[in-house]
C-alpha cells in the first residue's frame, strides 16, 4: 500500500491559513504575555492586521483564480469565486466584530468579563475586576471562529464540513459566555447554545453517515454521480439531516430556539459578530450543498424549504412583535430573516447564488451597525458611570431627540431590516425574492412580503420610541448614550455601507453576479 502525498494548491488557502495562524499565535500570546494592557493592544492589532491581510489575499485570489475556481486538497476544498465572496463577507464581519470587541467605554471597560473562570458574584470576581484583568482570549477565539467559517464556506466534503462546523462553533460557545454584565444569563445562554448545538451537530453527523451509506462518498460534487438510486430515501434522509444542521446555524424555525437566548445573553459585540457571520457561513454551506446536490431533488426537498421558510418568517415576525427587549427583538428578526433567506432557495434558481451573498452582506452590515449602537446605550449606575446596556424597549424612548445621529443610524438599520427602498435591505430582499419568483415561488414571496409588512411594525416601534416618545423623567436607572469611538465608527461605517448599497448597488451587484457561479462539478460515475 502506497501513500500518495496529495498535491495541495496552497495559494487559494492563504486567506484561511492566515486567519487560523493568527488565531494560534493569539492563543500563544495569551499564554505568555503577562501585561494585560499590552496583550490587549497586541491581540487587537494582530487580529485586525491579519483580517485586513486576509481581505487582500482574498482579492488576490479572486483575480488569480478567475471565473473557474480551483480544486484544493483532492476534492475536499473547492475554491471558486462563490467561496471567496463568502470568505470576503466573513472577514468583513469579523473586522467589524473584532473592532467592537475592543471597544471600551470611558471607564475603560469592554464588554467582556475580567476573568471568565470565576463564579459570577464571587469575591474573586471583584478582585479580578479591581486588578483590571481582561479576557483577551476573545480575539484569538474570534480568529479561530472566522477561520472555521471561511473553511465552512469552501468545503466540498460533508465530513470536512462537520470539522469546520465544530471549528467555528466551539469558540463561539465560549465567546457567548464571556459577558461582563449579567454573567449568569450569559453563561446560561452559552450552555444552551452549546447543548443545542451539540444536538444539531449530532444530527448533522448522522446525516453525513446516512449519505455515505447511500452513496459511499461524502463529497458533494461526487454524490450525484455515485449514489445508488435504490437508496434514494436513505440519501434524502441523510441530506435532510445535514440540512437540519445548517438550518440550526441559520436559525430557522423550528431549529431557532437557541437564537433569542444566545443573542440576549452574549455580549453585544459577540452577538453582532455571531449574528452576521454565523448566518453567512451557514448560508454559504447551504448554498453550496443546494446547487451541487439538492437541486436534483428539488421536487422532494423544495417543500421543506417552503415549510421552514414560511414558519420562520411568520414565527420570527409575530414573536418579534411581542418582545420587549431590543436584543431579543433583533434575535427574532434574525429568525424572520432566516425565512427570507430560505425564500431565495425556493426552486433553486441560479439567480440565488449571487443574490444570497448580497443579501447576507446587507443583513450582516446592518446587524453589526445595530449592535454597535446597542453597545452604546447604557443604563447609568447611581454614580453616573455607564452600567449595563439598556435593552428594554422602553428605555430607548426619546433617544432621537437627545442623540439624533445615533438614533438616525439605528433607524437606518431598522429600515434596512424592514426592507424599505433606498436602504441596502431593500435591494437584498429584491434580489432574493426575484430568484424565488423566477422559479414560480411567488406565493411564498407573497407570504414573505406580508410578514415583512407586519415586521415593519416592530422595527418602527423602536423608531417611534426614539423619535415620537418623550423619555420618562423619572426613569430608574437613567438611560444615556455613552458614545465610544470604535462603536460609533463601526455604526457610521455600517450606515454608509447600508446607504450606498441601497442607493447605488450596481457595483456590489456586479461582484455578486461574478460570484454567482460554482466551480462546475466533475462528473464522477459509480463503478
Amino acid at each position: 500500500m502506497t501513500y500518495n502525498v496529495p498535491e495541495i494548491a496552497w495559494a487559494p488557502l492563504v486567506p484561511i491559513i492566515v486567519v487560523l495562524v493568527a488565531g494560534a499565535v493569539g492563543v500563544l500570546l495569551e499564554a505568555f504575555m503577562r501585561n494585560v494592557a499590552l496583550r490587549r493592544v497586541v491581540q487587537l492589532q494582530l487580529s485586525v492586521a491579519t483580517l485586513v491581510l486576509a481581505l487582500f489575499a482574498i482579492v488576490w485570489q479572486w483575480v488569480a483564480i478567475g471565473g473557474d475556481g480551483v480544486v484544493v486538497l483532492r476534492s475536499m476544498i473547492y475554491l471558486d469565486r462563490q467561496a471567496l465572496a463568502w470568505q470576503f463577507l466573513l472577514v468583513v464581519f469579523a473586522i467589524g466584530g473584532v473592532l467592537l470587541f475592543a471597544d471600551r467605554n470611558r471607564e475603560g471597560e469592554d464588554a467582556f468579563t475580567p476573568l471568565a473562570s470565576v463564579a459570577p458574584g464571587s469575591p474573586d470576581e471583584t478582585v479580578a475586576r479591581a486588578k483590571g484583568l481582561a479576557v483577551t482570549e476573545a480575539f484569538p477565539l474570534a480568529m479561530l471562529a472566522t477561520g472555521g467559517m471561511m473553511l465552512f464556506a469552501s468545503v466540498n466534503d460533508l465530513l470536512f464540513l462537520f470539522v469546520a462546523l465544530e471549528l467555528f462553533s466551539l469558540p463561539l460557545y465560549i465567546l457567548v459566555a464571556l459577558s461582563r454584565r449579567r454573567r449568569l444569563l450569559s453563561q446560561e445562554a452559552s450552555l444552551k447554545y452549546f447543548l443545542l448545538g451539540a444536538f444539531s451537530s449530532a444530527i448533522f453527523l448522522f446525516g453525513a453517515a446516512l449519505v455515505y451509506g447511500a452513496a459511499e462518498t461524502t463529497g458533494m460534487r461526487e454524490l450525484l454521480g455515485l449514489y445508488v438510486p435504490e437508496r434514494q430515501t436513505l440519501l434524502l434522509l441523510g441530506l435532510f439531516m445535514v440540512v437540519v444542521g445548517l438550518l440550526f446555524k441559520i436559525g430557522a424555525v423550528p431549529f431557532h430556539f437557541w437564537v433569542p437566548d444566545a443573542y440576549q445573553g452574549a455580549p453585544s459585540p459577540v452577538t453582532a459578530f455571531m449574528a452576521a457571520a454565523t448566518k453567512a457561513a451557514a448560508v454559504a454551506a447551504l448554498a453550496r450543498l443546494s446547487y451541487l446536490v439538492l437541486f436534483r431533488f428539488a421536487w422532494e426537498l423544495d417543500w421543506v424549504i417552503w415549510t421552514v421558510a414560511i414558519a420562520s418568517v411568520i414565527f420570527g415576525t409575530v414573536l418579534a412583535i411581542v418582545q420587549t427587549d431590543v436584543k431579543r427583538m433583533l434575535a427574532y428578526s434574525s429568525v424572520a430573516h432566516a425565512g427570507f433567506i430560505l425564500v431565495g432557495f425556493a426552486g433553486f434558481s441560479p439567480l440565488a447564488l449571487s443574490a444570497l451573498p448580497f443579501y447576507l452582506l446587507t443583513y450582516g452590515v446592518a446587524t453589526l451597525g445595530a449592535f454597535a449602537v446597542i453597545t452604546q446605550v447604557r443604563e447609568l449606575t447611581p454614580d453616573g458611570a455607564a452600567g449595563a446596556e439598556a435593552t428594554r424597549l422602553g428605555q430607548w424612548a426619546g433617544l432621537g431627540k437627545r442623540h439624533p445621529v445615533l438614533a438616525g443610524l439605528m433607524s437606518l438599520f431598522l429600515l434596512s431590516f424592514a426592507g424599505i427602498p433606498l436602504t441596502a435591505g431593500f435591494v437584498g430582499k429584491f434580489v432574493v425574492f426575484r430568484a424565488a419568483v423566477e422559479q414560480g415561488a411567488w406565493p411564498l414571496v407573497v407570504v414573505a412580503v406580508l410578514a415583512s409588512a407586519a415586521a415593519a411594525f416592530f422595527y418602527l416601534r423602536l423608531v417611534v420610541l426614539m423619535y415620537f416618545t418623550d423619555a420618562p423623567d423619572d426613569a430608574s436607572p437613567r438611560v444615556e448614550v455613552r458614545p465610544t469611538g470604535i462603536g460609533r465608527g463601526v455604526a457610521i461605517a455600517a450606515g454608509v455601507i447600508v446607504l450606498v448599497l441601497g442607493v447605488l448597488p450596481a457595483g456590489a451587484l456586479n461582484l455578486a453576479d461574478e460570484a454567482g457561479v460554482l466551480l462546475s462539478p466533475p462528473v464522477v460515475t459509480g463503478g
Binding site: F430, V437, L450, A456, V464, Y467, P505
Partner: protein
C-alpha cells in the same frame, strides 16, 4: 443634468442639508421656502418649455443606467399628466410652508419639519416623473419614511398610532406590489432596461390569470393610496391628527399618486386585466364615492370630514378611469388637480381655525361669520369648490367624469352622481355649524384671516376659478395621454 433630475435633486439635497447642518436651523423656514420657490420657478420653466401639442409623448426624457443587474434605470420624463401633477405638488408645497410659518416650536423641530417636507417634495416629483417601474416603486415606498416622520412627529395626540397605521397600510400595499414588480420583470423583455415603462407596455402574457394577478398586485397598492373603501381607514386617522401642512401634502398631492398609478401604470401596463376587472372596480369606486360622502356627513371633526370627502372624490376619479372613455379619463385626471387644490385649501383653512381655537371639532364653533366675515367667505368659497359648484374646476372635472362614464356604466354613473347631493350636505352643514347661528362667547375673540393666510389661500381659489372657466388650460395637457390610454384599452379588448 436634465431638468427633471434637477427638480428631484434640489429638494432632496436641500432636505438632507436642512436635516443635518445645524447652523441652518435658525433659518429653516426661509431656507425651505427659498428652495420651494426655486423648485417652483424651475417647474414653471419646464411648463413653458413643454410642447403642449405633443402632450401625449414623454418629454424631458432622461434614461441612465442605474442598477443594470436588475434592469433598473434612472428613467424620468413627463407627459401632460405627470407634468400637471408635478405642478400641483410644487405649487402646494410653498403654500403649505407659508401656512405653517408661525407654528410655535423649537428650531430643531422646525428644521426637521421643513427638511422632511422638502424630502417629501423630492419623492413626489420623482414619482410623477418616473418612467421606470422599479424607480417608481422605490420612490413610492421610500417616500413613506419622511411621511412617517412627518405624521408621527408633528401633530395631535394620536399621531403615533396614525403614523404606524399609515405606514403598515402603505407597506402592505407596497410590498404586494413589489411581488408584482418582480414578476413583471420576468414577464417583460429582461435585460438592463427591463423596467422601463415603455418596455413593459403592450406585453402579451401566457395566460390571462398572470396578467390579472400582476394587475391586482399593483392595483391594491394604489387603491390603498387613493384610497378607496374598504382600505381607506388610515386616512381619517392621519388627517385627524397630522399637522395641516402634512395633511395637505398627503391628501391633496400624495393620494393622487394612487390615482396616477392606476392611470399611468395599471391601465397602461395591464389593459387586458383592467378591462376584465373594470366592472368590479367600478362597483368599488361608486361605493366609495357614496360611502365616503355619507360618512363625511356624520363627522364632527372637520379634518376627518374633509378626509372622507376626499375618499369620496377618489371614488369618482377611479370611476372615471375605469369607465375607459376619453371624457371620463380626462375628467378623472383633471379631477386630481382640482380636488387637490380644493381639498388642500380646505385643509389649510381648517388648520387656520384649529390654530385659533385648538380644535377641529365643529361642535365647538359657531357664528363665526359675524366675527370674521372674510374668513367665513373664503371658507364658503372653498367649501363650494369642494361640493363642485359650477364655474369651479372641481365641477368641470366631476361633470366630465359623471357624464363621460354614463356610456360605460349607466348605473355606476347615476349612483355616483348622488354623491353630488351628499357633497352639498357635508360641506354646507359644516359651514352652517361653524360659521352661522349665534356666536358663542369663546368665539368672540377670533381673529380675521391674516395677510399671510390670504396669500396662501386666495391663489388656490383663483386657480380653481380660472381652471373652472377655462378648463382647457389644464385639460389640453391630458388629451393626448388619455386618448392613448383609451386606445390601448380598446386594443386589448379586441
Amino acid at each position: 443634468m436634465d431638468i427633471l433630475t434637477i427638480l428631484i435633486a434640489v429638494p432632496a439635497v436641500a432636505g438632507v442639508v436642512l436635516l443635518t447642518v445645524r447652523p441652518l436651523r435658525a433659518y429653516a423656514r426661509q431656507f425651505a421656502l427659498g428652495v420651494a420657490a426655486i423648485e417652483l420657478i424651475l417647474a414653471v420653466g419646464m411648463l413653458m418649455a413643454f410642447d403642449r401639442s405633443a402632450a401625449g409623448t414623454i418629454q424631458f426624457s432622461q434614461i441612465d443606467s442605474w442598477i443594470p443587474q436588475i434592469g433598473a434605470s434612472w428613467a424620468v420624463g413627463v407627459n401632460g399628466i405627470g407634468l400637471s401633477l408635478i405642478m400641483l405638488a410644487v405649487v402646494l408645497t410653498p403654500l403649505t410652508m407659508l401656512a405653517g410659518w408661525n407654528e410655535d416650536e423649537s428650531e430643531s423641530r422646525r428644521a426637521q419639519y421643513y427638511g422632511l417636507m422638502l424630502l417629501t417634495l423630492a419623492f413626489t416629483v420623482g414619482i410623477f416623473a418616473a418612467r421606470d417601474v422599479f424607480l417608481f416603486y422605490v420612490l413610492f415606498e421610500a417616500m413613506l419614511v419622511p411621511l412617517y416622520f412627518l405624521i408621527g412627529s408633528f401633530g395631535g395626540e394620536q399621531r403615533r398610532y396614525a403614523a404606524v397605521k399609515f405606514l403598515i397600510y402603505a407597506l402592505l400595499g407596497g410590498l404586494i406590489m413589489l411581488v408584482a414588480v418582480i414578476a413583471l420583470y420576468f414577464a417583460g423583455p429582461g435585460g438592463e432596461q427591463a423596467f422601463l415603462t415603455a418596455n413593459l407596455t403592450g406585453l402579451t402574457y401566457d395566460a390571462p390569470w398572470i396578467e390579472n394577478l400582476l394587475f391586482l398586485g399593483f392595483f391594491i397598492a394604489f387603491a390603498i393610496k387613493a384610497p378607496i373603501v374598504p382600505v381607506h381607514t388610515w386616512l381619517p386617522s392621519v388627517v385627524e391628527t397630522a399637522r395641516a401642512g402634512t395633511t395637505v401634502l398627503l391628501v391633496a398631492v400624495l393620494d393622487k399618486v394612487g390615482i396616477f398609478g392606476m392611470l399611468t401604470l395599471v391601465v397602461t401596463l395591464f389593459p387586458g386585466a383592467s378591462t376584465r376587472a373594470a366592472p368590479v372596480i367600478i362597483v368599488f369606486a361608486v361605493f366609495t364615492a357614496i360611502y365616503g360622502a355619507l360618512v363625511a356627513i356624520g363627522q364632527d371633526n372637520m379634518y376627518r370630514l374633509v378626509g372622507f370627502a376626499s375618499v369620496s372624490h377618489s371614488g369618482v376619479m377611479v370611476l372615471g378611469i375605469f369607465a375607459f372613455t376619453r371624457t371620463a379619463i380626462e375628467g378623472a385626471t383633471f379631477y386630481m388637480l382640482s380636488s387637490g387644490l380644493s381639498a388642500g385649501a380646505l385643509f389649510l383653512l381648517i388648520g387656520f381655525l384649529v390654530k385659533r381655537h385648538g380644535t377641529a371639532s365643529v361642535r365647538v364653533y359657531g357664528g363665526l361669520q359675524r366675527v370674521v366675515p372674510v374668513f367665513a367667505g373664503t371658507f364658503l368659497i372653498v367649501g363650494l369648490t369642494a361640493l363642485a359648484l359650477p364655474g369651479t374646476s372641481p365641477f368641470a372635472s366631476e361633470i366630465m367624469v359623471l357624464i363621460g362614464s354614463y356610456e360605460a356604466t349607466r348605473w355606476g354613473a347615476i349612483v355616483a352622481t348622488l354623491s353630488v347631493i351628499l357633497a352639498a350636505l357635508y360641506v354646507l352643514l359644516m359651514y352652517q355649524k361653524v360659521f352661522t347661528g349665534p356666536t358663542p362667547q369663546a368665539m368672540e375673540p377670533t381673529t380675521e384671516l391674516s395677510l399671510m393666510e390670504r396669500v396662501v389661500i386666495w391663489p388656490l381659489i383663483a386657480a380653481m376659478l380660472v381652471l373652472g372657466f377655462v378648463p382647457a388650460l389644464a385639460v389640453d395637457y391630458f388629451k393626448d395621454p388619455s386618448a392613448a390610454i383609451v386606445v390601448s384599452v380598446e386594443e386589448a379588448g379586441l
